[in-house]
Symmetry: C2
Subunit: 345 residues, 2 copies
């Protein structure tokens, strides 16, 4: 069993949720989320990506696709100021601690191999509000990930490596890749079930493979789940039970396609397990006030039948996302289309 | 490991879903569902309740709350006739077998202790199209359940006993009650997580208690889950892995409150596990043509934050159902209300 204090909860709402609304979150939401994460006890808040402005036009994306240091500073400092003395504080704030003694969450951003200018855009830690760089990679871009991990660590950051599309990995190849990553300065190796395709038995095999390598090199293991098979929460608590200590969630499951492990489910569960740091109650007004509004604007995410079908076939959800955007409901024809597509791969 | 052939899938859409729309299902839907269940390989289709017409006014409820033999016969015979020669058959039908060799699902109904006139309303099996009586009981009405089980078995039916609100049971009491039930002619003892409050560790303890008693008396164990914590599917496949062989699902999760284990998730899973009998594809047109229409009519069910909160507190979902009907979205106030209510119990 892992030490209670070792658990680290990461809120990926802006980052994975940003894939749904092109990262156009209003500052008020971001400030409220930062504040909420302090109250709920979340340990890290991922603000978005460090994407290349050369590759991805800033006129086409909200600022959280780039996560400039000054943008992060602007909202976090405003949130801190209102906590200390503003009307939002409501006496819960004060000098940097609340009733539960939680501090502000640490700040994380994600950087994709091949999609960022990390040498320039990631400044030395001493100049930045960011605490952790999460390097996202596929198994076939590991050499690029190693370079980025080393760069970020040299600059003074905590680093994780998040291996995407893990449900497609061959067990033997995976072990070799994890050995390579475990020799880098990354302190956390993440299972990323991008396709939401891991059934519990498969999830267990993958997490156990990670844990074996991680134990050898003194690394931690993380879980980032998607909800195509309504197993995101279940797989996250399964991973925790097996020994993973870094757990991702998003409020109202906001994230690409079927979305993620709901933070509110995770917080409730941790409360019940006796973790005194975590609280679901402060999440409720955030969900009602902010996430409801996003949905009311017509932003769509979350479990639906088409995501079950891509998950069942262990495919990227892009066809299901397109089907959703087109407002189609002919699932039998869709299933036929994606099965045919699958055969060719 | 259990024998593959021992698995029995029960479709509870009309029965648990009927709790959402007061059992007003159109005959066309019921016929399409019966046909769909044959194509997907579902073993039993639960048509509804055998409720007392003296206690529950037939003017206030659809016919599937009562499941008169002749009503069941009417739709099943119409479905069979169209399979054999009608336009719906489309060559898939023929003489009682399809490509997968599946037969028509057996017919089940539920009878609640204290809410039915079973002596009169349940006719001898020889006169009825019903195959199985599912006796639903709370732990404190076991003596009444025993009488009903014996009555149904004497009349020639297969019988299961479905113990509701199991998440509230004390382990020691539960064992004693299961011993009592195991001495009756009921062949299946069901875990019914009415509150959707079982986390996997709790679900495992309960299912293991059932399995221990069942093994001693040669009984089978069933799982009927609710989705308050997004664990209905996960708990169902967990129960199967532990040794439960009777698994309930409903199409599109239709059922009280947060709904049930989605049949389409269960069918996909069983396909993947190599069960040649089960198929998800025939479920897709039924979901698109019929379940979508129910939703379009404004009938509401399924996971939502208020169900998480009653599940987390291990409470009956009635407060969450009321909250949903009232269109409230003030979850923090709601959580406060139900926590206060909880303290008094």
């Amino acid at each position: 069993m892992c030490n209670l204090k070792e658990i680290q909860i990461v809120d990926a709402t802006l980052r994975d949720g940003g894939l749904v609304n092109d990262f156009y979150f209003e500052d008020e939401l971001v400030k409220a989320l930062y504040r909420t994460n302090r109250l709920t006890g979340v340990d890290y808040m991922e603000f978005g990506y460090k994407a290349s402005k050369k590759m991805f036009d800033p006129a086409q994306n909200g600022k959280w696709k780039y996560c400039d240091d000054e943008e992060i500073r602007k909202v976090t400092e405003a949130a801190k100021a209102s906590w200390e003395c503003g009307p939002d504080g409501e006496g819960k704030g004060g000098h940097g601690s609340d009733a539960a003694g939680n501090d502000w969450p640490k700040i994380a951003v994600m950087a994709d191999v091949g999609r960022c200018d990390y040498q320039e855009d990631i400044r030395p830690k001493a100049e930045s509000p960011i605490d952790m760089i999460r390097v996202a990679t596929y198994l076939d871009t590991i050499p690029g990930a190693v370079e980025m991990i080393e760069d970020a660590a040299t600059k003074g950051y905590e680093v994780s490596c998040n291996v995407m599309a893990i449900s497609k990995s061959d067990e033997y190849d995976l072990k070799g890749s994890l050995e390579t990553l475990a020799k880098t300065p990354a302190s956390v190796l993440y299972v990323v079930d991008s396709y939401g395709a891991l059934y519990p038995d498969h999830a267990k095999r993958v997490v156990d493979t990670y844990l074996e390598v991680a134990a050898k090199y003194g690394k931690k293991v993380g879980m980032h789940a998607h909800n195509n098979l309504q197993l995101a929460f279940s797989n996250t608590i399964l991973a925790k039970k097996l020994g993973a200590t870094w757990l991702d969630g998003t409020y109202d499951s906001m994230g690409r396609g079927a979305g993620n492990c709901a933070m509110e489910l995770l917080l409730s569960y941790l409360e019940r397990e006796g973790f005194e740091k975590y609280h679901v109650t402060p999440a409720l007004p955030f969900l009602d006030d902010y996430m409801e509004k996003l949905k009311a604007k017509g932003i769509v995410w979350g479990y639906d039948l088409q995501y079950l079908l891509t998950g069942r076939l262990n495919q990227h959800p892009r066809a299901a996302i397109k089907f959703t955007k087109e407002g189609r409901r002919d699932h039998e024809a869709f299933y036929h289309e994606i099965r045919e597509g699958n055969i060719g791969k």
